[in-house]
Symmetry: D3
Subunit: 137 residues, 6 copies
C-alpha cells in the first residue's frame, strides 16, 4: 500500500525562560539574552504532529485524525497548555526549555503512544518566525 | 547541476463523505464519525505540487511554473473542483475519498504527465489543521 | 470605560449548492456556474465573531472569550459542521446558502444570545480568497 | 487629499496571568480558568498599528512607515517584549493584563507620540484565534 | 434587505521606486531610504476588494464574486501585474507609487465600474507587514 | 544527542527580470512570458533558513537563533533587499535570477558561514503560491 504522511495541527500557550542553573545571571544573559529574564516570558506554541505509514485498505486512513487529535490533547495540551514550563513541567526542571528540547520531549511522549510501524515527526513553532523539527534521529 | 524542489499551490472545493459501502450506517458512523454523514460535507482543498530536479542551465528553471500551473489546472482542478468526490469522480466510486486517498489519486494523475527524471510530491490540505503528503513511496 | 472589539475564530466544514428552486437547471447554471452543481460541493468555512463593548472594570474583559467560544460551538458549529446546508439546515431550505446569507443566519442566531449592549459582527470566509462581513445593518 | 489608513505589523512575546489581587485563588480560577495560573503562561502577541490621515502631496505618505516602525519598536517592543507583564510593566501592576487592557495601554502610549490629526487604531492578537481592536472610543 | 460586505482577494507583482523627480538623489534617499534606489525594487502586492450593499433576494448575492473576480483581473491585474509602476503605468508617471497612492488609483479605476449603490473599499498589502486601506473618503 | 532542524524566517524585496542575454526579445518572451519584461517587476521574497544538527547539551540550542538571524541579515538581506537583482547583484549579472538560482546563491553564501557539521536547507518563496527548496544536493 502507498505510504502517506498525515499531519495534525494543535497549539498551547506557555511561559518559560532559558537559563542554566549552574551559571551566573550575567553568563545566562550573555548566552540567552532577553530569553534569560528571570520573570519569564511566553509563547503561543503551534505544534504539527506528522505520522507516516501505509494507508489502511479498509478505512483509507493512515491513522484516524480524531484519534491523533485526542492523543495530542490528552498527552501534550493537558500537560503544557497555560503552564510555566520551567516551574510546572517535570522534564524541564533540569532541561532548558528551548524549542529544540520541547520538541524532543513532545516526540518522546507521543512515540510510545503511537504504533511502532508508524514514523513520527514533530514540528514546533515557538513564534511564526522560529520553528524546529524533530523525527527521532 | 544543483537539484532544487519547486512548489506550486493550487486549490479546489469539493463535497465528500467517508464511508465503506459494505458497512452498515452504524458501523460507518462508529469509524468515520460526522464524516460519514450521507448528505455529504465539504472542504476547500489546498494543494501543493512539488517537483524536484536539476536546474536547466539555459533557463534557470527546474520546470516552467506556468506549465506546472496549467497542468494542475487541466488535470486536477478541472476534474475535482466544485465536484462531489463520491458521486462524480470515477476513482472514488470504489475508493474512500480520505485525504490520504485523494493525495494518491492526484499523484498518480500527475506522475504520468511529468518527466520521469523529475521527482514528484503532493501535499494536500483538507483543512488548515489537517494535511497529508505523498511522494510515491 | 474604553470600548474594545474582541474577536474569536472558529470553523466548520459543510457541503452546499447554490440554486433557486423555481429556476431551471440551465438558468441556475447561468447564474451560479459550477456552484449550481446538483451533487453539491463544499467548503471549510472560517468564522470570526466580533463583539464590541466596554471593558468590565472588574475582569478586564468585554466578554469572556471562553463563554464566546462555547457559544459559537453550541449554537453554530453543532448546527453547521459536517452538514449539507441545503438539505439539513432548516434556514436554507428556502434560502440560498450563499456566503452572504450564511453570515446573516449566523448573526441572527448569535444576536439573541449576546447581551443587547454589545455590538455583534460576523466575518465568514467561504474560501481563503472570498469572505463576507455582516453587522446587522 | 484622499484619506488612507496605513497599517504596520509588529510583535512581542510576554508572560502574564489574569487575576484580581483582591480575589481568592478559587475566585480567580472560577473567573479566569487556566489563565489565572500563578506561575504565569505566555503568548506571542502580534500587533497591528493603523494610522489614518490624508496623503501628503509631496511624499505620497500618510506617515513614513519607517518612522512608524521605529516608534512601535522604541515605545512598545522595548517595553513589553520578553517581559512578565504583571511583574515588570508598571501599567499592569494594578490593571489585569487582558488583551483588551493591553490594547488600551498600547493605544495610550502611541496616541501621544502620533500627530493629533492622524486617527489611531490598535489591533492585538493574543493568539492566532483571539484578537482585539481599540481605537480610543 | 440586510447589507453585507463581500471581499475578493487578488494579487500582482510589480517593480517600483519611491522618489520625487524634482528632488536631488540625496534628498530622495533622505526621505525614501532604500525605496529610492534608482534601479527599482519590487513587491508581491496582495489586494482585497470589498463591496458593500444589500443582498439580492433572488440570488442571495451582493455582487457575483465571479464578476468581481473578472473585473479585478481585467482592470487591475492586466494593468499592473509584472509591470514597472513608475515606467509603464500612466498614473505613476507623475504620482509617487507609494502603497497609499496605488490604493487610491485602484479604487478610482474600480469605482466607475461598480454600481453606485455599492460601497467600495480597497485594501492593499505591499508586504505581509505593511498594508493600506482606502474607501474613497 | 538528538538531531533537530531549526528554522528562521526572513525576507527581502527586490526587482528582477528573467531573460537570457544571448536570446532575442521575442525568444525571451516565448520562454519567460511576462517575467521577461525589460522594465523589471518584483517580489517580496520570504526566506526560511533551516539548520540541522545535534542539540548542544549545555545550551539546548542547535544554533543560537540570534546568531542565525544576524547572519541572514548581514549576508543576505543587506545584499538583496531593495535591490535590482539583475543590475546590482554580482552573481546575477550572468545568471538568470529565477527562484531556483536565487536559492542556490543564498545557500552558497550561507554554507561557508555555518559550521560544516550542520546541514543547511534554504526555502525561498517568490510569491505565496510559488516556492523552492535547495539543500546543496
Amino acid at each position: 500500500m502507498a505510504k502517506v504522511t498525515v499531519h495534525r495541527k494543535a497549539h498551547f500557550n506557555a511561559a518559560h525562560r532559558l537559563y542554566k542553573r549552574e551559571w551566573s545571571d550575567a553568563q545566562n544573559t550573555t548566552v540567552f539574552g532577553k530569553c534569560a529574564n528571570p520573570h519569564y516570558h511566553g509563547h503561543n506554541y503551534e505544534l504539527i504532529v506528522a505520522v507516516k505509514g501505509e494507508i489502511d485498505a479498509e478505512t483509507g486512513f493512515v491513522i484516524d485524525m480524531k484519534v491523533l487529535k485526542d492523543l495530542i490533547k490528552d498527552e501534550i495540551e493537558e500537560k503544557l497548555d497555560h503552564k510555566n514550563l520551567n516551574e510546572e513541567v517535570e522534564e524541564f526542571k533540569t532541561l532548558n526549555p528551548t524549542a529544540e528540547n520541547i520538541a524532543v520531549v513532545i516526540w518522546n511522549i507521543l512515540r510510545v503512544k503511537i504504533e511502532v510501524k508508524l514514523e513520527l515527526t514533530v514540528t514546533l513553532y515557538e513564534t511564526p518566525r522560529n520553528f524546529v523539527v524533530y523525527n527521532g534521529e
